[in-house]
Amino acid sequence: MVSNAEQGPVRQEAPEYAPGGSAATDAIVVEDVGRVYVDRRSRPTREVTALSGVSLRVAPGEVHGLLGPNGAGKTTLCKILTTTLEPTTGSARVLGRDVTGQSRAVRRSIGLVFGGDRGLYGRLSARENLWFWGAMYGLRRSRLRARAEVLLERVGLADRADSRVDTFSRGMKQRLHLARGLVGDPRVLILDEPTVGMDPVAALDFRALIGELRREGRTVLLTTHDMAEAEAVCDRVSLIDRGRLIMTESTDAVGRLLSGYERVVADDVPAELARRVEALDGVVAVRHEAGRVEVETEQPSATSAVLSVLAGAGVHRVSTARPDLGEVYLHLVGRRGMAVT
């Protein structure tokens, strides 16, 4: 993949984007999309709503993060955009082409990468996998071979190009997945939890690669649980939960949203004092365990009040911090035992 020296911050200036702008110029347009599954295994059969009234636009060259817990509907939206699932209601277009009515043309212009071990031919070498998938996109002979070599080099697998993929580590397979997703030279990349199972170094490399893709003008829709990843690479993020889009904002705007929240952490706090803090206006959550209290506030004045109460009670081991995107996300979707890192 890219060299370690390039692993610094990869966020570039977000592309010019006017929300609600021309649907004709947007790379991805999702309009009021709903998807209902029929669960035939349950008796009686029941309908499960995976997506409901989701509308989203992604500008050309934008890296857009789609954040949500398991079962939120992220993968369902990816399936619809990659033409492997039809929406029940609404419509979606990729580069101006309808994913249902012009699915073949859509397939030609997208690359799909998902996380995990599967989706590769384990008995083929890395190079043969790229030949195979390149052939699926109509590449032939010298162009196909040249493309495979470039991508193997790009994802750092040139030295293992002739090794069978089932001998690869999970991180290596994931890098090969990325190369496979790029082999058709797609203008739009759908990355569905691509860093699942990656070690931290590989995940950093991956972020750098996303930066390269942006510089090349590709549009990327990235679904992830990882808030740090979204903050590092995305121009805008959408939060999705239970099939509904909660918000779509630039990461800068999300930063402003974060500024509304603060967190106070203090040690050696008795339970009675924690209850007094919890009763203060503007305090939205208090967690108290083994003398340590974590207080979340939704306005600066509440933070001041909490600090005053704690200081007045003689508590001196106190710190304040801004919550990260993940914590704001939890505020918005509620705490439901979700795996948010």
Binding site: V38, R104, R118, Y121, E128, F132, M136, G184
Partner: protein
């Protein structure tokens, strides 16, 4: 540019070669697979000796020797359904390629192995049971074996695309299919033994026709008896291939997109 069918078959075959290399060494093919198939031919032909009917041994030896290529070739069902297990099916469906042509190339190692297996059985075991071949018959026998493998491959492809999205059925379907062919297509008993309805149905199976042609070659019958069955064998093979393509495109992929049964894998 969209990939052509031939291009897809060719790159599907890349997988076939890799699969075959991973499944067998020459030793395991020769002493494992071929040994198992020889044992099957010897077992059923041995039953012919017990029957003590003139011609039964010859009948069973020819039928069961050719049947080995059917058994080998029907592995196409399991290999094709492996696309879903490997998580590649949804990626194929999300690519500009027509996956069914990939499937066609993807399992070509099985009919090739099947031709080798049946040829070895016909030429290696045949003489033990009094079946000998003249030099002029050898190319015909190999061609008929290849046609049997090809026709069976098309039948297998059809069954494979039917169960590609229901992989738990892969072995049930392939085993039931070849056992039915073994029973009804003239391998163990003449087709005429069965009720008329079954006789009519097996006319749709290429093996029924190629086996009739092979018996004609073995009996030194006129060319019309040999080449006559080749026409329906080719025709039925083609129809099964068309059925596979149509079924995948319209009765598997389209409903799967609507029902949401194509998984993105993790």
């Amino acid at each position: 540019m969209y990939p052509s069918a031939l291009h897809l078959v060719r790159y599907g075959f890349l997988n076939a070669v890799a699969d075959f290399k991973a499944t067998y060494t020459w030793r395991s093919w020769l002493f494992g697979w071929l040994g198992r198939m020889f044992a099957q031919v010897l077992f059923f032909t041995g039953l012919g000796r017990v029957l003590d009917q003139p011609g039964a041994v010859r009948y069973l030896a020819l039928g069961n020797a050719l049947m080995t290529c059917v058994v080998d070739t029907m592995a196409v069902v399991a290999t094709t359904s492996g696309e879903r297990r490997a998580g590649t099916l949804s990626l194929l469906v999300a690519s500009p390629a027509d996956p069914v042509w990939v499937f066609v190339g993807r399992s070509l190692h099985w009919p090739i192995s099947g031709v080798a297996t049946a040829s070895a059985a016909l030429f290696g075991l045949g003489p033990i049971f009094g079946i000998t071949w003249s030099a002029s018959q050898v190319p015909l026998v190999v061609l008929l074996t290849a046609l049997t493998a090809l026709g069976t491959y098309c039948v297998g492809l059809f069954l494979a695309v039917v169960v590609v999205n229901v992989p738990r059925l892969r072995n049930v379907v392939s085993n039931c299919a070849y056992l039915a062919m073994m029973a009804f297509c003239g391998v163990q008993v003449p087709v005429g033994f069965w009720p008329r309805g079954i006789q009519a149905v097996v006319q749709a199976v290429p093996l029924t026709h190629t086996l009739r042609a092979l018996r004609a070659v073995s009996d030194n019958r006129p060319a019309a008896d040999v080449f006559g069955p080749v026409v329906p064998a080719l025709l039925t093979a083609g129809l099964w291939l068309i059925a596979a393509v149509v079924t995948f495109r319209w009765l598997v992929a389209v409903p799967a997109r609507r029902a949401g049964t194509l998984d993105l894998s993790y």
